[in-house]
Amino acid sequence: MSEPTPSLPTVGILGAGKVGTVLSRLLLSAGYRVLIAASGDPSRIALIVDVLAPGAVALTAAEVAREADVVILALPLGKYRSIPADLLEGKLVIDAMNYWWEIDGIRADLDDPRTSTSELVQDFLPASRVVKAFNHMGYHDLDEGPSAAGAADRKAIGIAGDDDAALTEAAALVDAAGFDPVRVGTLRDSVSLQPHSELFGANLPAAGVRDAAARFSSTERGREVAAARAGAPALRPR
């Protein structure tokens, strides 16, 4: 395992499941220092981290939130209210979560087309800069897919956010992880990266991601979202 590159930000990952361990590996090999936490005592994930993400440091969620410069959310979306919000003030927070009813249970609040789930996360973390990224690609494609910048057919990850500087930082992280970052709009637009959208599950090069994002509004899901947003006030007016 190579030593972390000192000039790079320290990345914290909340969640040591399938996605959390894959993202840890990708960023470790890009030279980042990676801190990782599951819920509860870090000793519970020590072996998992040691084997599946060697080089990452297992800590509590609070320690990760405090010490990391950038924090990636890779926990079940249904648990987003357990995130230590006050410790993330001012930080870039990357939301890689999706509503997955089989794990989260049936939750109308997480499945409302009027509000993207990243908007809910941003509301819960008002002092953080939230960017949606790493959510739409299946974890096995993430694992198998990274390649060097400029590689032919390099796969791309759609990112969305409201803060330009935050998007630039997130894009650098996506690039370092081995994927082309493609901006697809604001947090409100990030519904196009969520389940039921064409991009959800997509494992495509940049042009494919860009095209799919561009035609979102003309897809069945896009029209459904637009109708819901036009017809009734959003849960979260912006």
Binding site: A38, I45, L47, I48, D104, H196
Partner: protein
């Protein structure tokens, strides 16, 4: 390094077609008994049934079906793939499987899991978000029942037991019980903690991604002071005389199924390109006997498996394609894999001392 391997067939009770007609549920139930008999005849080691509660599947009363199969077979072992422990009562499950074990003369086994399908939760009055807690507590109780009878147990998911003995009592130590895992590292560690063999359900992507999970499992066993235990792989597939025939037949059923799954879970339908990739380097074991055998041998290297279970049924598949898969799996694939493993073992023996292995 794998030198011996066992082969299992898995069915989720998928309703097939016959000459374009969809079989009825009762016809499918009876077909499963015939298929298990065929599996025994062609020398396969285990026949296992899933547990589902949805249209197109008839495997809702797994132990009842297995009991029927038990009285129609003599040698093949009878298991599950997987039993949704989270929504079963461990006491009831014990009674069912100790009875099956008695009835089948010691051929019963289980794979326990959290399930990738969720219909049993609302059906039996459980909350989906409790699935982790339900599984953890119920596994604790179920293993206690198998390992320490009479059992005293207290928890939150059912009434406590005090010095309870169940009948028929299982053989000492209980029946072979595997933990089915879909990729969650915590579940891998849990299997090791309980000293239970690991069944990896790999249904998409490159199977070798799971090599880290196998390492994790072995390291965890070591940490708990336990010996190495078997690792199995559950995969989907179809075997036909040629690769082309297998690929076309499977696609006709697989494409609508994955499209439907995508609709439920929010991802888009599979493309033919993606399918071809799954066949070439991915998780589908679809092909001629030689293609499938070579792929299984690769898994014994990469994932160190000593058990390979093929789920041979998929909604709407013609009954004769199912029968052909079972037949070829038993008569062609299994012997060919064993032959290839023996050749590899010979090669290793012939290597000079000190030669490096990959």
């Amino acid at each position: 390094m794998t030198t011996e391997i066992e082969f299992g067939l898995n069915s989720f009770g998928d309703v097939p077609s016959d000459a374009g007609r969809t079989l009825t549920d009762p016809e499918t139930v009876r077909l499963l008994v015939d298929e298990a008999k065929l599996a025994e005849r062609v020398g396969l080691d285990v026949f296992s049934l899933g547990e589902h509660y949805r249209e197109g599947h008839v495997d809702s009363a797994t132990p009842v079906l297995l009991a029927g199969i038990a009285t129609a077979t003599e040698r093949i072992r009878l298991g599950t793939a997987v039993t949704v422990l989270s929504t079963n009562d461990p006491v009831r499950l014990y009674n069912e499987f100790s009875t099956l074990d008695a009835l089948s003369n010691g051929r019963a086994q289980l794979v326990l899991g959290r399930a990738s399908q969720t219909q049993s939760f609302p059906l039996f009055g459980y909350e989906l978000e409790d699935y982790e807690h339900l599984f953890e507590e119920k596994l604790d109780l179920f293993m206690k029942l198998q390992r320490e009878m009479p059992t005293t147990w207290q928890g939150t998911v059912r009434s406590p037991l005090t010095n309870q003995t169940l009948h028929p009592t299982m053989r000492p130590g209980g029946i072979p019980t595997w933990i089915g895992v879909g990729g969650s590292p915590e579940s891998v560690v849990r299997a090791a903690r309980y000293g239970l063999p690991l069944m990896l359900a790999i249904i998409g992507g490159q199977p070798e991604r799971f090599a880290g999970h196998v390492d994790l499992y072995f390291r965890a066993l070591e940490q708990f002071g336990l010996p190495r235990l078997p690792v199995g792989q559950h995969a989907l597939g179809l075997i036909a005389d040629t690769d082309e025939e297998a690929a076309e037949t499977w696609w006709r059923s697989w494409e609508p199924l994955v499209t439907q799954m995508g609709r439920e879970r929010g991802f888009y339908p599979p493309t033919r390109d993606r399918y071809e990739l799954e066949l070439a380097t991915g998780a589908l074991f679809v092909g001629s006997p030689e293609t499938v055998a070579q792929k299984i041998v690769r898994m014994t290297d990469e994932l160190q498996i000593n058990r390979f279970d093929l789920k041979y049924d998929i909604g709407g598949l013609p009954v004769d394609a199912r029968a052909r898969t079972i037949e070829l799996f038993g008569t062609r694939v299994a012997p060919r894999v064993r032959e290839l493993l023996a050749e590899k073992a010979d090669d290793r023996e012939q290597q000079p001392v000190g030669a490096t292995h990959e």
